[in-house]
Amino acid sequence: MEIAYYPGCTLHASSELYDIQSKLVFRKLGVELKEIEDWNCCGATSAEKTDEFLSIALPARNLGIADASGFSEMVIPCSSCYSRTLVSQKKLAGDPALLESINAELTQKVSGKIKIRSILELLVPRAQSGLIGEKIIKKLEGLKPACYYGCLMTRFPCDMEVPDNVENPQGMEIVCSALGAKPLDWAYKTDCCGAAASVNDAEMSLSLMSKIMKDAVARGANCFVSTCPMCQFNLDAYQEEIREKYGIAERLPVYFITELVGIAMGLSPHEMQIDRHFTEATGLLKELELI
């Protein structure tokens, strides 16, 4: 099957590895991700904080393109893009005047029919149906991930139907268990990493990440798994600083969910671009003889 795909800016830049992994992994699962034409930046948190109109209008242009694409579903792996696009769709469904005003500027109008999916909404049913289990070549035995959801997968600025438990989501745990890994129970799975604060309010963000890191270590995790490119980037790129500043000895690789699914299905570390992590991430997989 084919499904519309909105990568967003991050998956074409600093988290390109997530884009590459997602396409390969879903192809193996029989799903082709079809990038929508000429999409634009969703505005992320910055539009939300500074410009109410653009925070709805920027994702709306992408929604219009997706609505006109003929697909019924669109997957958005980045949590921030996912959240902003859903919020825009919901707001426009309830505000005909705003919808008209925005549609007046667009060649491809928003009709509201495309169904937005997170990456977990695609992976979880395939784990539950046994499809992922059938495709596995190597069980991820010995891997003890702390599944880290961050904020935007389950919490929204407005009422929204959330496809998982808001305070204790289980989607990643279901997928990781299907891969043969042993995800851990821990307390910080939906806590905030600080997002952009790692750049504009660094002390604050490092202190939040240190708590996340300490709990994961205390529970015996040997890695993190994430679906959000921002969370992944923060925990990965600033880990050395957190360790120095807060005296944490351990290093935990921060994997995207897609690379774990890929490795278990026999895709190579090269195909999964595992060398592009800031915190060394191939060593653990070698040690556990998974690659």
């Binding site: 830049a13 500027e105 504009n200 790129a237």
Partner: protein, 203 residues
């Protein structure tokens, strides 16, 4: 200054409350100060103001303090407060509104780097319709440096250079920094949306 307002001034309170309710879409008077939001807020303690306190401040009509407290500037829009509030109040929507009000009132932001970050992000994405990290970093550092110079604080600049070069070098090493320019082909359409937004704020 930062005295806690305990006097209720209806003349001051009503216009402020109505403006914030209208813009944020949040029903502030529903707050009964149970402080579930405070318990979950990751920045409240350090900011010295928790979401319940911010709401109280607004209900009491303290406009200055409402725009100039650290919660407004440190709020991460993590939505924990709103997810737990029994009255469905999203304080993130309130802090967003207050940041916009501070900007419109030309008030110096309490955390200039936060304001510079979001302004630079919007500026960078307005040029080509997509976010280009290198372009963004350029604009952000310029805004940041300008504001640090204005405040006569050169240490901020050296710290900033150190932090961003450490990160930038690591990103290059890991092939995570991109130098080709991402852009939207139908840029005119994206620009029309930016223009419409400006017309709306000018009105």
């Amino acid at each position: 200054m930062t005295t806690t307002a305990i006097k209720y001034e209806p003349d001051l309170s009503k216009p402020l409350l109505h403006e914030i309710m209208e813009r944020s879409g949040q029903n502030l008077p529903a707050c009964y100060q149970c402080r579930r939001c405070a318990a979950g807020c990751p920045v409240g303690v350090e900011a010295g103001v928790t979401p319940d306190r911010l709401i109280r401040m607004i209900l009491l009509g303290d406009r200055e303090e409402a725009m100039n407290n650290l919660l407004v500037w440190k709020c991460l829009s993590c939505f924990t407060c709103g997810a737990r509030c029994p009255n469905n109040i999203q304080t993130a929507r309130i802090t967003e509104t207050l940041k916009q009000m501070a900007k419109e009132a030309h008030t110096e932001p309490l955390l200039p780097k936060v304001a510079a970050f979001h302004n630079a992000f919007m500026k960078a994405t307005s040029h080509f319709g997509r976010f280009n990290e290198v372009e963004f970093m350029g604009i952000y550092e310029l805004e940041n440096t300008a504001s640090a110079v204005k405040r006569g604080n050169l240490k901020i600049i050296t710290d900033e250079i150190k932090a961003s070069s450490r990160l930038g070098l690591a990103m290059i090493r890991k092939r995570r920094l991109h130098f080709r320019l991402a852009r939207v082909r139908n840029l005119a359409e994206v620009k029309a949306l930016y223009k419409k937004s400006r017309q709306q704020t000018d009105r």
